[in-house]
Symmetry: C2
Subunit: 339 residues, 2 copies
Amino acid sequence: MIIDCHGHYTTSPRALEDYRQAQIVGLKDPAYKPARAKLAVTDAQIRDSVEGAQLKLQRERGTDLTIFSPRAAGMAHHVGTAEVSLYWSEACNDMIHRVCTLYPKNFVGVCQLPQSPGVPPSTCIGELERCVTELGFVGCNLNPDPSGGYWTDPPLTDRWWYPLYEKMVALAVPAMVHVSSSRNPCFHYTGAHYINGDTTAFMQFLTSDLFKDFPTLKFIIPHGGGAVPFHWGRYRGLALDLKRPPLPELLLGNVFFDTCVYHQAGIDLLTKVIPIDNILFASEMVGAVRGIDPETGQYFDDTKRYIDAVPFLGPADRKKIYEDNARKVFPRLGRKLAA
Amino acid sequence: MIIDCHGHYTTSPRALEDYRQAQIVGLKDPAYKPARAKLAVTDAQIRDSVEGAQLKLQRERGTDLTIFSPRAAGMAHHVGTAEVSLYWSEACNDMIHRVCTLYPKNFVGVCQLPQSPGVPPSTCIGELERCVTELGFVGCNLNPDPSGGYWTDPPLTDRWWYPLYEKMVALAVPAMVHVSSSRNPCFHYTGAHYINGDTTAFMQFLTSDLFKDFPTLKFIIPHGGGAVPFHWGRYRGLALDLKRPPLPELLLGNVFFDTCVYHQAGIDLLTKVIPIDNILFASEMVGAVRGIDPETGQYFDDTKRYIDAVPFLGPADRKKIYEDNARKVFPRLGRKLAA
């Protein structure tokens, strides 16, 4: 079985985006009162939105199940108030639930959290709980920078985040650390902000004792871990200089990397340097890079091809990357699949 | 000949740091008037500061010449006013000049610029010109985020920076894009902010026509280009999606990467993915990571060992990385060495 742990609903029905646009326009009016979405979306529209995209690619590429979450750039937690963020998150998560209900063998949900810059993450607990216990979701996406590129909230290792982590642990759900769009003109979103968010989160974990406080808390760092595997020697050396424990002991029981790296040399490095137990298959499709690589004639984001081509991986290694590690990091997924 | 294009004076004499501390303490007093440094540093103190560090490592590792600049984290352009930054930059650059004068075969200077957040970069032209024309420096370090981790100044591709670029082109000096310390608790400086700065700058270049306006302007992105080589497929794909020219045409005549990547697998990837003409040898010594890798028994930052061990590089490739590319990117260095 091949589980893709990082897929976004980038093709969601027009009505969802219309609702968001109404929110954004509404915010310009001082008298605006945010309201919950009531979207008239038919099952046929949902089917249409994935049949020619994520489902088609699953079939073509030979993957089985996508852990599916709302469009990452669309989260834009910096837009409006916490209430605006809540209603938007609910609408996005409900739409994911519709997809998962129609295609229970193909999609399992991961939720967007109603974060808002400067607002305690504990306010996200209700929506996390709803998504996990009522909608059957198996994880969440956690934005380490709700400000959208100004990094004004505390690091992920600050006690600011602890109430949310307590709930994650209680529910047995991991978080993918994933920034959203950037409103800072210095940062292109998919080309800089995403990758920087990954690198930043890893270094926050490296310098803290978070996993002493939460031994079972689990994070997936997407996009192959940002810059981390390429600089693995730097991080091992920094841990040593900073008198931290070796990385396996310090964080490799809690921090995992996905395979959204879009060329063979990158996947070769990732799978060589990072322990196989810490790598989860993912493609980010339909996502950041949509074209065909003129050097290979294949889609850049068809990451399964790269993993299949790594010369030093054996069948047991591939099975871990494709399936076993996802079952381990998402315990609720494991239980769902066993049921 | 082996030229290390990225060395910092991290071991400078105590008097320099004392001057800086006096500035920082002074800034707490509203009546404080910044004053130029008058440092009583002897030649013996300068010799002492490098003999047991950078010079010793040059000899031990078999490198010949270090392109030498003030401590990067020490630049801290966010401290105080532009005047404070100017006096501090002058003091740091003068100290580099002392080293280069005492050891003209071992060190060539690159200057710190007196940047200050929100202040036009054109104010740095005077110090750049002084360092190049009077002190014989061959380049500068340019901080893409003088705010120290909040990224409040415009991207490097904005016209904001153009007057400085005009002077760089007129003087035929490149810039290494190098952030300084981080005052943002989200970013560890050497583990996150440095690497993010590299990735961010590359993506700024990718999305702009800067090099149409300045066809001979040259930048070195340090730390192996941040996350860029690891995600080279992503960047090629993003350029395609964004309808930009292919990367060689778009920026590889202007953007270069150093080899400050501290493990074999990282250097293997860098030299495999990035054209050899775009890679300059560097070790960042004495710098970010000072320890010995328990896996190899060698210093993490002894990057020459990794380059020597890349199986697919031939003698002509290594000569480019070690020498020819540095002469090309730093034309004033080439002329100095020919003299």
